[in-house]
């Protein structure tokens, strides 16, 4: 068996897929093909036009678009084949099928299809169905890639990191933010990010309320909140509330985490389908781009091991968690988890009720991908020991 004779297909050319591909080529795998459905590879950072990328993987600070093209260059220089404007419609452990029916054989497949935000309908927000309702992803593309005017006065639904990022995007595009709305008691981002946006632009954050109704026949005219208040606006941006792009994973029958709706993976990114790996925000919605890129580096040796005749782990299942933890998934450097409420406590991993490790006390914030640099042993369950 020789790695140089082997083919691996990576589905999705975002930070995780591109990094995986480059690292696999550098590890000696003969043919690595990244299949990307957009015109350009690079994934979400192509249109997140602000600084803060590349910190943990490339150890520098770059803007999203520069980071995206940098990752494309690195992959190309490593000899990765890049197929753009090409959609994968089905995968298995032995290859992929493209939209036009072409089958490409591979010895292994890595899924790196990323994550999107739940749009309004998926959140079942009632009311009229006017124009002017968006997600952060769509307004970023409209402003960063196509220089389009989105609206004049927006309400942002959500108060997590990406919600504040949406506020900057709107501001740059000449749209003021009338208010932010979150069902939780506080915003869920870093104080500095909040200061730099909501505080600076004097945007009120309505807490512990939801959008009860959207009003407007042709274009949004207002939103009505569950506390009865009405906010006049012509734009509503639904932010966060991540849903992984898991269609291919589910179609090929990988086991799923019912809560995160990601394919379940082992600590080395194997899914329950032999030959199919899954990485990036498809498996931990939604971490930062640099961490996704690190997943790509860590999956490479595990793919190589499989190609050299290694064994596939037999029971790949989601990590077991106890409330208020809602889900947890392995990452390149530990584990990422989510909690349902603001809570202070110690994270503990136990096997058969016996603690294996306990972290030091920290504050856990909901709606955030909380990243822990410690691995969870097989069969362990994660819980939170509350208290000061």
């Amino acid at each position: 068996m020789n790695l140089a004779d082997r083919t691996v297909i990576v589905v999705g050319g975002g930070p995780s897929g591109l990094s995986a591909a480059a690292t696999m080529r550098n590890a000696g795998i003969g043919r690595v093909v990244v299949v990307e459905r957009e015109r350009q590879a690079g994934g979400i950072p192509r249109h997140t036009d602000h600084l803060g990328f590349a910190i943990r993987d490339l150890r520098r600070v770059m803007s999203g678009p520069r980071y995206a093209s940098r990752l494309v260059d690195i992959a190309a220089r490593s000899g990765v084949e890049l197929l753009t404007e090409t959609t994968v419609t089905d995968v298995s452990g032995t290859g992929v099928t493209l939209a036009d029916g072409t089958a490409i054989h591979a010895d292994s497949v890595v899924l790196a299809t990323g994550v999107r935000e739940r749009p309004r309908a998926a959140r079942l927000v009632p009311g009229d169905r006017p124009a002017g309702v968006f997600t952060t992803g769509s307004i970023q593309q409209l402003t960063a890639l196509h220089h389009r005017q989105v609206g004049r006065r927006a309400v942002i639904v959500g108060a997590e990191h990406v919600s504040f990022s949406a506020m900057s995007t709107l501001r740059h595009g000449g749209c003021e933010t009338a208010a932010m709305v979150t069902s939780l008691p506080r915003h869920q981002t870093y104080a500095v990010l909040r200061m730099a946006t909501a505080t600076r632009y004097r945007v009120p954050i309505h807490t512990e309320v939801d959008v009860a109704e959207i009003v407007g026949r042709r274009r949004v005219e207002a939103v009505i909140l569950t506390d009865g208040s009405r906010i006049t606006c012509d734009t509503v941006v639904f932010t966060g509330d991540w849903i992984p792009d898991h269609e291919l994973a589910r179609r090929c029958g990988t086991g799923m985490d019912r809560v995160s709706r990601s394919p379940a993976i082992s600590a080395s990114f194997e899914t329950s389908r032999p030959g199919v790996f899954a990485i990036g925000n498809l498996v931990h919605p939604a971490e930062t781009a640099d961490l996704c890129a690190l997943d790509g580096r860590v999956v490479a040796p595990s793919v190589a091991r499989w190609l050299m005749g290694g064994l596939w782990p037999h029971a790949v299942a989601p990590l077991a968690v106890e409330p208020p933890i809602v889900w947890a998934a392995p990452t390149a450097v530990g584990v990422t988890l989510r909690v349902a409420e603001f809570v202070t406590g110690r994270l503990q991993a136990s096997v058969n009720e016996t603690p294996v490790w306990t972290q030091r006390r920290q504050r856990f914030v909901p709606n955030r991908a909380i990243h822990i640099s410690q691995t969870v042993p097989v069969g362990a369950s994660l819980s939170l020991v509350r208290g000061r």
Binding site: T87, P126, F134, H146, V150, R258
Partner: protein
Amino acid sequence: MAHVATDRIEPFDVVVVGAGVVGSAVARLLSHYDLTIALVEAGPDVGTGTSKANTAILHTGFDAPPGSVEARLVARGYALLRDYAPTVGISIEQTGAVLVAWDDEQASTLTTLRNKAQANGYMSAEIIDPVEVYALESHLGPGVTGGMVVPDEHLIDPWSTPIAFATEAVANGCVLLTNAQVVACDSGDEITMLHIVDGRRIAARFVVNAAGLHGDTLHRMFGLDGYTIRPRRGELIVFDKLARPLLQRTILPVPTAHTKGVLVAPTVFGNVMLGPTADDIDDRTATGSTRDGLDGLLAKGRRIIPALIDEEVTAVYAGLRAATEHSDYQVSDDAALRYVGLGGIRSTGLTASMALAEEALARLQSIGLTVVDRETIVSIGLQPLGEATLRPYQTGGRIVCHCERVTADEITAACAAAVPARDFDGLRRRTRALAGRCQGFYCLAEVCALTGWPVDR
């Protein structure tokens, strides 16, 4: 030709008011004769009223009230549209349906329903026991007490149907006027003058009223009376394509006098639909959804197919049935006014549309319209939107809308068609672009760039 701004005193032989599925079907049939026809629509496009928001089932009419006008026209319309659809690219799929009883009382009505079906001339309905029901639909929730199979119910693409009719009408010389709400009319001895909202006028020898929810208003403009429309709102939830394997066929409830009830049905686009609700309301424009409506649907859906509720929701919408104080369609004609009214077409008008067109033609003839066959009839073909036939992306082409797999060429073609897309809603109904699970997260910006339209067009 399709969108002349006219102040035409030269009368059209027939003006059809309302370009929903019914009015478009009428215009199509009339365009096969040597007549001058106009199809006058208040909205910006054909099919923007009730015709775009329904459950998209081509009904056999097994449960219609026997002997009613509706029963006759649904049965006839079913056969006509089933045969016509594949010839012009309207997707249909014969999945069949199973009507499911959930308690003893419902189970006891199955025989009555089967007899009703037979009275309607539909002989293939068959009563089955719960074990057989579960054998057909293994994802049904617990508690099924019986069922009835209706093998001839079809799914149909509701968006393409009025567009195909209107496209064929226009191809055969019909003038389509959009953004042209009729606000008043003067009926003379030979000519009826219709006044349009912006001051335009249009003259007609004969008028067909296919104004859907506003049918009674137009009826009254002619000095006629007899029915009043009170909209019955139906809210619907469309689930992700990943839910499609949960059912093989349409799952119907036992109908009541008020409504056909909440069903779960596959769509030709590969999704699953849950609904509709039935609420009598006063506002004829209230096509919004409500918290109570959606929560009620989820509760019902959870009972019918529990696993469905775990799937992602792709879209939510509401349609208004043109219900009246009568249970039957309100079809009428008036020789002196040279007028045919197709009113109160509430919950089966998609199926009955082509039969309603025949009915309108017969009545027009009975009140003095003479018709001569056109020498040649131009036929048309649309790109089918359903999943059961080959889609353009499968033979190459750049996919722009990834969720629905719509290519750039389809979007460009829809904007350049004889009855073109003029806004995102029209584009969605002609191509499926933006109708998928991400609702524009990935492709809205690209679609804006391709069409050159602002985001709120």
